[in-house]
């Protein structure tokens, strides 16, 4: 039926299509041709819009043929042209046509229904329940009925039906005759129905589905194995499927279908970790398959099963590794090489040596044309890194990054940075090497990891004292290179380099060169935030130089008179500081005099001149950070200038000398304090001022914010805070009433609290930021400090190679890294609950996932309790909550609290553990109770209990 000339589209509201419309309706083929006539995007969208308006008219036609064609076109448009089927969903005409006795129309309608996923159509889908029921029930004409029921099963297994779980639940019974026939369609559909509404479908469908596993028809058993593989897939809990092990084992040893074997292996891979005897049972058949099978897919599945689920069986693992290596060496098939690398990645830490054996192949794979293979190879490389080979591997990887395409180069750099920086540079023992590696990375062609490199440069400077000379040296090479300034990706690195050079200026060999580098003309290309850092670094350098100059003058006090005339500074004094410098490619020519001595008056004057000419213009800058620092610097420089002018006006030398000395000394002390890493617990360590009472005003809020579950405490007492001794700080300053509120809040919003640190147990932590007791240059005190940091970092630091410099690590950092993953508590899923209800005795042990979640909870609680004062309060409060569930008994707690606070900390900790555990177990009991309740709900009395796996295994 063609509609040869394009009739103009009639005006919008046309109630029903005319006879002409019906006769000359465009078929789907016509529509496709029409859409292809104008392939441009605009042409296509107008064509789609026009076709849609046409369809909306036709679909209301009273006769089925017109409607069916319209529905077909609409399905096509919504599926492949993403036509918005908003107000007029596919569902209604589709559901109408599902009832058609005419097979082609029925097919179209079912296809439309299974493809349509619009929310509006989903809500209409239950209207089709009755028709589906009819189509699923067997009728007389075998062939047609088979076809029709196939269509119905198709719809039942579609995601549209999964989104309407009621539909699946109502039709579960209709699947039974098909399941008993062993129809693969019905088996696949049953799996979907069970997944969509476990509670309703499991009691009806699970047993027949399990029976299909033992079916003599290989098609049925294959489909059933696939169905259970699907149902046991994570995140579902595989434990309820353990009783199926005998049937699966039977399939494993007898089936000759690779599809079935693959699925059975997958299920066993999930079951084996749950039941220890299972692994020993399946290892032989799996090895036989591995040795015998010619199909690569099955071989790979065997390798995966052995490596992930049977790691304790050495012979099997060796066999699997041998096969995996065969995969690796398949030159002509990148798929096998990729899978071979994947297999190596599954090897546990016990077989690291095997991975090492393949290092050449892996390194070669880094240069593969295939990004998958490269990425897997990188992953394996990172897995190989340990303390001994990190220099080798990281160096190789960084040089490889230079040869790779930008994306992969950054993957490599990111991976190296993450591996080396892991757990406060745990693996790095030679920091000189690491610092130069960081600069190499920054100079790498496609480097986009500037932020992390910059962060680590500063971090290493703060934490590793021994690395500072090399750090300053490497920073110099970055700073003097004018080419780097134009690369905006490197700004964070340059910023870090400038900061490091300024902060540790005492390691600089040539401050003059440094100042020139920091003030070179191309710095104008830098963003303002980085320029601010540059200027501040110049400030530090000039202060340092002046200070050295002044110190030297006072050392050779005899020469004070000549001092400020300066040109004849004692050569012997300056000898020690003088550097055999490499004057590279700086643009400003340095007078030969200054190359010899950076602390001579002349070089200082040179620097001052330079500063005035280059920083002076920044007074016009509209960025406050830069402006402020420029003003500071210029102000300081002017003071120095004045001294010089005084000299010319022949003021008394002594006075002049002492003045400048005082000025410079003052300035130097400003910068001389050591900056260290700041602990997460730093805030806790800040002692409260004596006269501050934090809760004073909050008390008035108390009756406003009172919650229904906690009675507002009528008597909140405030102890005045006393200071000066650690013991006093341990004592809770608040009454229990408010501290229980506090801990309650802490429990609920623990995320937002700072972790409780070991502040009082280990007072000798890393020095607080800006601790006045620790001047920067004092070597011995720094050593002392690093030693005291040792116990905090734990025993593993002691095992480190002796030459490894001290790396400062704070207690909070360990806590944070271990806290994050454990917070991920797995939750019980409804499917496994329902399945377990059918298969297992109610009184059986709680599921593993439940145990896991309990364990995780315990882990969190233990983490929260790592000593410290506030956790002590929490324990007290917990004890109180168990003993006195009602808050009305609160006043009676007061004496016991006072008694406890006099106890020493250790015994206190033990004492409160008991009620804590009790409380946790009572919580677990509650869980179980709830769980049982659900099981009871889903279990039907007529379902017989399945044999339990233990019998089979023994």
């Amino acid at each position: 039926m063609h509609r040869s000339p394009m009739a103009p589209t009639p005006p919008a509201p046309v109630p029903a299509p005319s006879l002409v419309d019906t006769l000359f309706q465009r078929s789907l083929g016509d529509l496709v041709k029409f859409l292809r006539a104008d392939p441009s995007a605009a042409g296509e969208s107008t064509a789609v819009a026009r076709a849609l308006s046409e369809i909306h008219r036709e679909i209301r036609a009273p006769d089925a043929a017109t409607k069916a064609t319209a529905l077909q076109k609409l399905t096509y448009l919504s599926s492949l042209h993403f036509a918005p089927v908003a107000s007029h969903p596919l569902a209604f005409p589709a559901i109408e046509l599902i009832a058609s006795p005419f097979l082609p129309h029925k097919r179209l309608a079912y296809l439309a229904a299974s493809l349509s996923l619009h929310p509006a159509s989903l809500s209409l889908l239950p209207l089709a329940t009755h028709q589906l029921h009819k189509d699923l029930s067997p009728s007389t004409s075998a062939a047609a009925s088979h076809n029709v029921s196939a269509l119905a099963l198709q719809l039942l297994a579609s995601p549209a039906a999964a989104a309407a779980p009621d539909l699946a639940a109502h039709l579960a019974h209709d699947l039974l005759p098909h399941l008993s026939r062993g129809s693969p369609r019905a088996i696949a559909a049953a799996a979907r129905v069970i997944a969509a509404s476990p509670s309703a479908a499991v009691p009806i469908l699970f047993k027949p589905l399990a029976a299909c596993l033992a079916s003599p028809d290989p098609r049925a058993s294959t489909a059933a194995a696939a169905a259970f593989c699907e149902l046991s897939a994570p995140p579902a809990d595989a434990a309820p499927f353990l009783p199926l092990a005998p049937d699966l084992y039977n399939l494993l040893t007898t089936s000759r279908s690779n599809w079935a074997l693959i699925k059975v292996l997958k299920v066993f891979g999930r079951l084996a970790p749950l039941e220890s005897r299972l692994a020993a049972r399946i290892v032989d058949p799996v090895c036989q398959l591995l040795a015998r099978s010619a199909a690569m897919s099955l071989t790979f599945e065997c390798i995966r099963t052995v490596l992930t689920a049977l790691p304790a069986h050495d012979t099997a693992v060796c066999l699997a590794i041998g096969k995996a290596k065969e995969f690796l060496t398949a030159e002509d098939d990148p798929n096998l090489r990729y899978l071979g690398l994947l297999a190596l990645g599954m090897l546990g830490p016990t077989y690291v040596s095997t991975v090492h054996e393949c290092r050449d192949v892996i390194a070669q794979s880094l240069g593969d044309a295939d990004s998958n293979i490269r990425r897997e190879a990188l992953h394996l490389m990172m897995g190989m890194i340990d303390r001994n080979n990190i220099m080798d591997i990281a160096g190789m990887l960084v040089s490889h990054a230079a040869k790779s395409d930008p994306e992969f180069a950054n993957d490599i750099l990111g991976a190296v940075l993450a591996a080396c920086g892991h757990n406060v540079y745990e693996l790095v023992s030679d920091f000189d090497w690491y610092v130069s590696l960081l600069t190499d990375m920054a100079r790498s062609l496609h480097c986009a990891q500037g932020d992390e490199i910059g962060r680590q440069l500063v971090d290493v400077g703060l934490r590793v004292q021994d690395a500072r000379p090399e750090l300053v040296h490497s920073s110099r090479t970055l700073l003097i290179d004018p080419a780097l300034l134009a690369n905006h990706l490197l700004c964070p690195v340059l910023s870090a380099a400038a900061w490091v050079s300024g902060e540790y200026v005492n390691f600089t060999k040539d401050p003059v060169e440094l100042v020139e580098a920091l003030l070179q003309p191309r710095t104008s290309l830098l963003p303002m935030s980085v320029r601010a850092v540059y200027i501040q670094a110049v400030f530090k350098v000039i202060t340092f130089c002046c200070n050295s100059y002044v110190e030297r003058l006072s050392d050779s006090s005899k020469e004070v008179a000549v001092g400020l005339n300066g040109l004849s500074i004692d050569e012997t004094v300056s000898e020690g500081r003088k550097a055999p410098l490499v004057s590279g490619d700086e643009q400003i020519t340095v007078p030969s005099m200054m190359e010899k001595d950076p602390f001579s008056e002349k070089s200082i004057i040179h620097m001052i001149d330079l500063i005035e000419t280059t920083v002076g213009p920044l007074f016009e800058c509209n960025e406050v950070e830069v402006l402020e620092r420029a003003r500071n610097l210029i102000g300081f420089v002017h003071l120095i200038r004045e001294v010089q002018e005084l000299k010319e006006s022949k003021v008394d030398d002594d006075e002049k000398h002492s003045w400048v000395k005082e000025l410079v000394k003052n300035m130097q002390t400003v910068f001389s304090q050591e900056i260290g890493p700041v602990s997460l617990n730093a805030q806790e360590k800040v002692s409260l001022p004596v006269d501050i009472v934090l809760n004073e005003t909050l008390a008035e809020l108390d009756d406003i914010v009172s919650e229904d579950d906690t009675t507002p405490s009528s008597s909140i007492l405030f102890y005045p805070r006393s200071h000066g001794s650690i013991e006093n700080r341990n004592e809770p300053a608040l009454s229990l009433g408010s501290s229980s509120l506090l801990s309650e809040h802490r429990k609920r919003h623990g995320l937002y609290y700072l972790p409780t640190g070991k502040t009082e147990d280990e007072p000798v932590d890393y020095p607080h930021a800006n601790d006045p007791l620790l001047p920067a240059s004092n070597e011995s005190s720094l050593d002392d400090k690093s030693n005291t940091a040792q116990p905090v970092t734990g025993g593993k630091k002691l095992k480190a190679v002796k030459s490894r410099p001290k790396v400062v690590k704070l207690d909070g950092e360990d806590f944070l890294s271990s806290m994050v993953p454990s917070a991920n508590v797995p939750k019980e899923d409804s499917l496994s609950g329902a399945v377990r209800g059918v298969l297992l005795d109610r009184d059986l042990k709680p599921s593993s996932s439940q145990k896991a979640s309990d364990k995780a909870y315990e882990g969190i609680v233990n983490k929260m309790e790592t000593g410290g004062s506030s956790s002590q309060w929490k324990n007290n409060v917990d004890a109180e909550l168990v003993g006195h569930p009602t808050s009305s008994s609160r006043p009676s707690i007061q004496p016991s609290h006072e008694k406890e606070s006099t106890n020493p900390l250790e015994s206190d900790g033990k004492e409160v553990k008991e009620p804590k555990r009790h409380r946790r177990s009572s919580r677990g009991g509650h869980h179980q109770g709830k769980h049982k309740h659900r099981e009871r709900h889903s279990t039907q009395p007529d379902v017989p209990q399945a044999p339990i796996i233990q019998d089979f295994l023994l």
Binding site: L19, T22, L23, L28, G29, V32, R36, D63, A64, A65, Y76, L80, P84, V85, F102, L103, P104, R107, L108, L115, L117, A143, A144, N147, A150, L153, Q154, A157, P159, A163, P184, R185, A188, A189, A191, R192, A226, C229, E230, A233, P234, N258, W259, I262, K263, A295, M296, S297, L298, F300, P334, N335, R337, Y338, L339, A369, D370, S371, N372, I373
Partner: protein, 166 residues
Amino acid sequence: MIQAVMVMSTQGKPRLLKFYSFQPPEKHQDLVRGVFQLLSARPDSVSNFIEADAIFGPGVKLVYKHLATLYFVFVFDSSENELAMLDLVQVFVETLDKCFKNVCELDVVFNFNKLHTILDEMILGGQVIETSSEQIMRSVEEIARLEKQSNTTSLIPKSISERFSR
């Protein structure tokens, strides 16, 4: 399970889309675009697998075959074997080839329904139900025969005969 089957042209135009896990319809276009970007970035003669976590969620991979002007893409999760999926793509292509006698892109463009019929004989609800291309072809032919049968019973659509009899 198999999460989706896609056939798209080397221009990025979808030719067949079937999702077995729920994906909101307004996202379909983005998914197709995302997959196409991954595919078009890959040179020839590299492995056929792509990790597609970024598009479909964790653990999801896709396997593809590039034949003439078409990409055949199967999206699957950890319950499927990579090489088995690759074989399945091969089965699908073979079946198309048999059904259309040297399949080309135009066959795929103009046979929307038949393509779905073939696919539905092979995969149901994300589970593989048939892996033999002969068997699939037989079923598809049987369906065509049945449809023709019911077609001959009423050559003229009922509605038109009704209209004329009125």
